[in-house]
Symmetry: D3
């Protein structure tokens, strides 16, 4: 087991303000433990409160459903190579209904466009004028 | 207008093998021009054929629909900062039905998880044991 | 414990040239052990000598003080997700006076601008003309 | 001049909610125009409100002063290669007192640790036990 | 030992289609085990077949020899910080003749240009007109 | 034409120390102009001297020849998406003998391993024990 830079703060040791965020996480997510991510950034209570509140607003179903959002989160985390994030977002997406087949296709898409991103960059391909709203060259 | 590393190959100047891929792109995509990306990597006909064939297989609707896949492609391209890719995948996603509201939420999700990826990395947060299939510590 | 690609070279086994760099590291840093980073790149004595000499010149207090420089090093390492670098620069910054509150704010800043970087990229935001010295459109 | 993915929203065309954020940006920053970044993400009023409110909280002088925070923002943006962000944060840091010498040293530090990050990764250097709080191997 | 997101598929449990790819990997590479990478992506048989077939085509000696290609693979993996990839491509390059001196120089080059990439980005250096085929300013 | 963060320093306006580096660049490279990269970082004469001296040492033919090193530089720059670096290293590699076929294969390799890097990360593939020198599980 690896060691984080600062010790995660347990529910028992948390201040009232931090405990309030923990409670909201447990209730909103319907989980029985506060994940290490939140217990770690709790060292900066403002960072905890701001991040949780932003995340709740962003992950609320809107024009995109929550599962799509979690799979986009997996795509970002895989592209950045963040282990914690890959594991936690994959677990969340699975809970929301992502099957192994969906995961396989998601990985295929993420892999593929990391490849084509480099081909486009490497050859310095000029965006086609049709991709612009105003341009007509 | 910027200049690519190698000159895109026009339909007229293309070899028969390259022309066959161009034709398939035009037909499969239902578009009237071969985008610069394909005309540029056509300098290496194997790269063109392989990339187009992989992309067709990957973007085929399967466990995930094509719009979801295009939005994942946007997410990857935004995370990597590839202009061509952002412009082309955003255009494709719009053609498939992505509204401005969906784009706004997609950007929110991509932005947010690029932030939390760094918080998880920065604090070296340990993945919770519940994210593992076997582990029980 | 993980295993590096090449075995770190101990002080005892080091050549005279490598030992001279080790000695300078121990004295300049005021530490009692040669960190694994230096013992590993010592396999290429030129790489060791050049990297240490560049690092010493760069980390010398100048227009920026050393603590600020170490915190910038943390920011770079967190953005890149390099564990060794995050751990070593965080430790160095702490030795130079970085408190937990400073670390918390540093993480907040790094996280935030990794988010806004993607929003700026994702929307392909045009730099305002006021950010250019000559332009006036 | 390049073209963003969505048209920036001018002050005149903005809704009351968006105008309120614009006003706060103008007043807090002491500037006479709303930068393109804010006018672009204004297409998603929640994203605008949330991002501006987070940024204000983060950039408030606390354990770190605002200039240090802006230089960290430059470091992140340079590491990610985001042009808009490099230009805007460099301009902000200069307004807050960053001299050319400070910029030169900042760039040196950012460049250097992007190099050492790769050496540490490339050799898979094991973090020294002294960088851990608990470990003693 | 860490745990992958999905269980690697053993040779015994593989379907006929997957087994055929495994056999080709064993024969082409002249190895006695199927590496975890292939056994993991085998969960999506199309991903396995497509990736292996692309990789075989790409790594075939052509205008560049296989060792050069493996060292480029190391360079990409080091820049992205992918541990599995660094370890496997370094091992492959060694098998093909990469000595410790070659590895040392490879690391130096990768480190150096990760540094200069940031200096070029950070200062937003304008490409010299001589680097363009058509431009003459 | 875009504008760099600081004005490049012309040969005429350069200090004696900077001019000495410029002269060495012109002579070593056998070119007739000082590229913008060097004229820009010349604002920090130590950064200029250190970077040029490191680069000269690294690019000297050793265990790897200079063309291989330049192609590795292209691979790093493509992976990072640095336009200046892609253009300048591609130009240098071409001068040293890189043909269009070699460029095509180089791009294929860089693209491919940016893809497999994400598959390895995304599935959190465990490095095979054979990739370690000591491990035998």
């Amino acid at each position: 087991m690896n060691e984080p830079i600062v010790e995660p703060i347990s529910y028992e040791d948390a201040s009232a303000a931090v405990k309030a965020v923990y409670d909201d996480i447990l209730e909103t997510r319907g989980i029985k433990f506060v994940p290490n991510f939140w217990r770690t950034i709790a060292h900066d209570p403002k960072l905890l409160a701001r991040t949780w509140s932003s995340l709740k607003e962003i992950m609320h179903p809107g024009a995109l459903d929550t599962l799509t959002k979690e799979m986009v989160a997996v795509a970002v985390s895989v592209t950045n190579g963040c282990e914690y994030c890959i594991r936690s977002h994959t677990a969340s997406a699975r809970k929301l209904g992502m099957t192994d087949d969906m995961l396989g296709e998601l990985m295929s898409v993420v892999g593929m466009f990391n490849e084509t991103n480099r081909l486009a960059n490497g050859y310095q391909v000029e965006p086609d004028s049709v991709f612009f709203r105003k341009r007509s060259d």
